[in-house]
């Protein structure tokens, strides 16, 4: 708020602070980053909450996301329309869920959604294969990929439906101590 120009009202700040894990300063910085992405589209003044959505082609160019193999999925998951068009609210929401203060449950929910490529609320083999190919950048042979995926499903699947539901996923996450630190983007 130190600027000459008012970006957010106090009320907006409070709302953001209560709903996300960010402080006032960080919200301002986020706004700055959002503005940077498309200076001609995003106004400096956000007091009247303009409904501006940035397409995924713009948002994935952020250095934080640029090299991430799941960048497309991340913006899709956090966009309200599911197409990756992010409003500022979505943008804040995204980094709030990915920040270090976010609780494990919240992170697990969003991680699940990111890995669920086809959006059927299950991590099926195709999802896993897509994930793996993105992770390894095609270093494994297709047989290895398929083997890894079926083994992984075998390991984590509790109810025997040969795909991973959210509870399977959550259960698995609970065994991974470093999930909290890896599913985290600094901004």
């Amino acid at each position: 708020m130190g600027n000459k120009q008012t970006i957010f009202t106090d009320e907006q700040f409070e709302a953001y602070q209560d709903c996300t894990f960010f402080t006032r300063k960080e919200i301002l910085r986020l706004h700055g980053r959002f503005h940077e992405l498309a200076p001609h589209l995003v106004p400096m003044d956000y007091t009247n909450e303009p409904d501006i959505r940035l397409p995924p082609t713009l948002t994935v160019t952020m250095p934080e996301l640029k090299e991430n193999p799941f960048r497309q999925r991340i913006v899709e998951v956090f966009s309200e329309d599911g197409q990756g068009n992010l409003s500022f609210n979505d943008f804040v929401d995204m980094f709030s869920a990915l920040c270090e203060m976010a609780p494990r449950e919240l992170k697990a929910i969003y991680a699940f959604k990111i890995y669920d490529f086809n959006g059927d609320n299950f991590l099926c083999k195709e999802d896993l294969e897509k994930t793996l190919n993105r992770l390894t950048k095609g270093e494994l042979t297709p047989e290895e990929v398929s083997l890894v995926c079926s083994k992984a499903i075998e390991e984590a699947d509790l109810d025997g439906d040969s795909k991973l539901s959210f509870s399977d996923f959550e259960n698995m996450i609970s065994k991974a101590p470093d999930f909290l630190s890896t599913f985290h983007i600094r901004i």
């Binding site: 409070e14 602070q17 209560d18 709903c19 996300t20 250095p63 934080e64 640029k66 090299e67 991430n68 193999p69 799941f70 956090f78 309200e80 329309d81 609210n89 929401d93 709030s96 869920a97 976010a102 609780p103 494990r104 449950e105 919240l106 929910i109 991680a111 959604k113 059927d120 299950f122 992770l135 390894t136 950048k137 270093e139 494994l140 290895e144 890894v148 995926c149 083994k151 992984a152 499903i153 390991e155 984590a156 109810d159 025997g160 439906d161 991973l164 539901s165 959210f166 509870s167 996923f169 959550e170 259960n171 698995m172 609970s174 065994k175 991974a176 470093d178 999930f179 890896t182 983007i185």
Partner: protein, 998 residues
Amino acid sequence: MAYSVSFNLTPVMDPDFGNPGSDDTAQDSICQLLWVSKSSLECGSVSLGTQEMETALEDGSVSPGNQEIETALEDGSVSPGNQEIEMALEDGSVSPGNQEIETALEDGSVSPGNQEMETALKGGSVSPGNQEIETALEDGSVSPGNQEIETALEGGSVSPGNQEMETALEGGSVSPGNQEMETALEDGSVSPGNQEIETALEGGSVSPGNQEMETALEGGSVSPGSQEKEVLTKEDRLDKQVGIVMEQAAEETLQSREESKPLVRNRWSAATLKVLSCMPSRSIGCQSAIEVASKRTICHSQQHRYHLQTPNFSHSTRYSVRRNGIEVAPEDVNEEEDKRQELANNLQNMSSGERVRMLRSMPICLSEKRTLRKLAFSGQSGQSLLSREVPCNRLLNRDLRQCLFASLSLFSSLQLWRVPLKRLGCRFGTGVLSYFLFLRTLLLFNIFLFFINGLFLVLPQAIHPPLPQAIHPPNPVKSQLVLELFISLITGTGFLKYTVMFYGYYSNSTINTSWGGTSEPQVMAYNIPLAYFFSTGIAFFITGIVLIYSVSKSFGRSFPVFKSHGNLAIKLFCFWDFKVSKKTSVRIQSENISTQLKELLSEVNFREEERGRLERLCGMGFYLLAWTICLGSTFCWVLGIYSLTAKMGNTLPNEAHLLVVPGVVSCGNLFLPGLFNLVSWMENYSSPSVCLYVAIFRNLLLKFSILGVLCYHWLGRVAPQNGGVDTSGQHACWEDLVGQELYRFLLMDFIFTVLHTVFGEFLWKLFSQRVLQRRRKPVFDIARNVLELIYGQTLTWLGLLFTPLIPVVQIIRLLVLFHMKRSSLLMNCQASRKPWRSSHMTSVFISLLCFPSYLGVAVFVNYTLWTIKPSSGCGPFRNLPFMFHSGKQWAHELAKGNPNLDWLNWVHSNLVENPLFLFLVAGIFLMVIYVHAQVLDGQRRVMDLLQEQIKNEGKDMKFLITRLQDIHDRQPAPSPALPTGLQQQGSEVRNEHDVCGV
């Protein structure tokens, strides 16, 4: 009769169907409904895959059919007729008739208007929302109804009829009509006729033939053909079954209301799920209550994120937040606003901190959160809770954390060779990485040795060089200076002999340093023999302590607490670091993940293949042969070295001759491991780790038997022969001879390693790629390289007593080795074709370093100190019977000079000289190690037991779940022989309960 209703209604709404909806309230409530059912659906699907139906029934009003309507209505094309239906649905008074209407609506095959719509959709002149529906219809996998059925079927309650259904569903051509069918099928009372119909439907509801059939079914008018009768009867039966299903649903709703735990046939019920969610394994690390909440809420937000197309769609929230913990009570609230209000009220009932936490961790989109917040905090004049409560604390916490992270990263960046090691580990796996880690450990050990020796021994002696007459430096001829220098560097003779490098240079005097000005000079006496004795002793002692400590530590670390089970999935989902944003790091990370996955895979895939008796016998024969070859060649080689050293000892020392023994030994070290590798190739071990251990053992045997022979040669032959004054009147110094020999060995070993790297790896790669036209590169031989390192380190330790500066040579050698091996690896070698995980490789290396290597050296050094007479003409211990006498002498002198220190003499004579004490200490030490090992063993056993117990617990859990399920299944189902008219009754009953419930 239901069908007739549907038939009557459809024309009414068709004309309006295509219009975009203008009726906001209708839209809202539909959306709400849509949300309710969908979220209920998704709730189920994110839990154990069995909840859907149950939550749907919990709501009381949602039959699968409703969902379809909703999807149809989603795009906003609400006509008044639809509103009516929807209202009816909302009330919970879903009669089969409505379902039919909805089928009619959705199907697009009954009325021509809808067909038009569909063609319009296909034509592409539609809004995105419609497209979604269209695709949903087309592939059939997105519509929630199908999901539900599918999961239901996969839930394990598959009767043969259902399986058929499933195949039908998998075909993707499922229309709501099929759903109805399916519910009938689920019932279990499937007559073959129904199946027929179903297969007919399966073909796809778009094809005209099936349409006819369907319309025939629905309209009740019989189409001409052979199916006439059949269809008639089937229709009747269908009606009945629908009625039954509805009634069952109603009953179940009733039950659920009464027990407040809804019940589902053939699925895991809520009670089961509740039990499940309370299971210890479920609540690891987080409160199960919140888990339950988040399970529910995920559907909510997914709903928003995935399915909503209309931007002005207002979201609904349905939490019921109770005082402690959160529980979701899905209720049929008519207005979305109401729900939100309710949730807000619940939030208001919480403490403010709790409220903010709850709000933050809701996985719903931010705008929704903000509206919710507005409602929840309206009573408190919109004040931010944060600003009142925790700002300072939280900020401080965060700053602290950031500081911690920064310092941690700084600390880790200080580690030696962090980045290259990371890269190597990523590309070549943990086996190769452990070699380099070991190399780094050795380097640190040597730096420590150098530090101790350099500071306390070399530095004082270098500052105060011994009296010139004590040593006899030769006068080098100027023209041959370079050659001399080279020779002396290679052999350790010449001028190098007369430097601080070797034992002979050190004096047996006391250095007196005075400082503090002229008025009152303070004199400090520095006894070189003592310094020599103690610095070596302390260096060895501390090295030993560190070694033993790290051995126990590394064994503890490699202790398999979590077996590889569950690692693959974790690697897959939790290993990627989202923070990484640098391109190279991203590449390294993906390389790392693929290598690790390959290693894990090899572990998973490794299985002992069954072999026949003959083959096993053959294999045993091969093993026997291989071991005979290895042991025989080792023995011959050692014998050869023995006789060679004996022969060389008698000849006159000449520069060329000096290099023979080290050269021959290093040569053997170069070629015999090659032979071993050849042999192990013949043996063809199936497990790479067994192969490695065997190779390590053979190399170890070779190297240490050679070292044993050499030690015998030095202490048994060289020392007694060169102790006194030799024939030419010069003082012979056997310590120098041994030190030089060790120096040469170290150097030769290094040279041969370089040669091996250049010829064995680089040229071989060129040869095999250019000449043999093979794509394969040589594989890095871990066993051999590690054993070379251990061998070198043993030489260094052996030489420490005679060559105080030998750690410097070793440090240089290790540094060069690291860079050479690294570049050679990156350039010439490829990752092993059989990747494997060396979870405790490092600990094996360390323990090898500790047990044969360090222990052997300790014996050697102690033997030298205690029993061998030092040469009389050189070194700090000249004129002493044994080296340890220097300490004794010093204690005596101290006691003489200062009677108060008499106890020191006593301590020395009783503790250091008395072997009993040493035995006692060693015994205690061994006992501690033994107890430690036993404790470890016990822990391992307990861990095995616990793991077994966990497995059994899992079995118990499964058993309990199935039992619970059985109990639910056994609860009385309504008799199947209900008249057709009862369906109405059933829905009425249901309606009643719904009203009660709400």
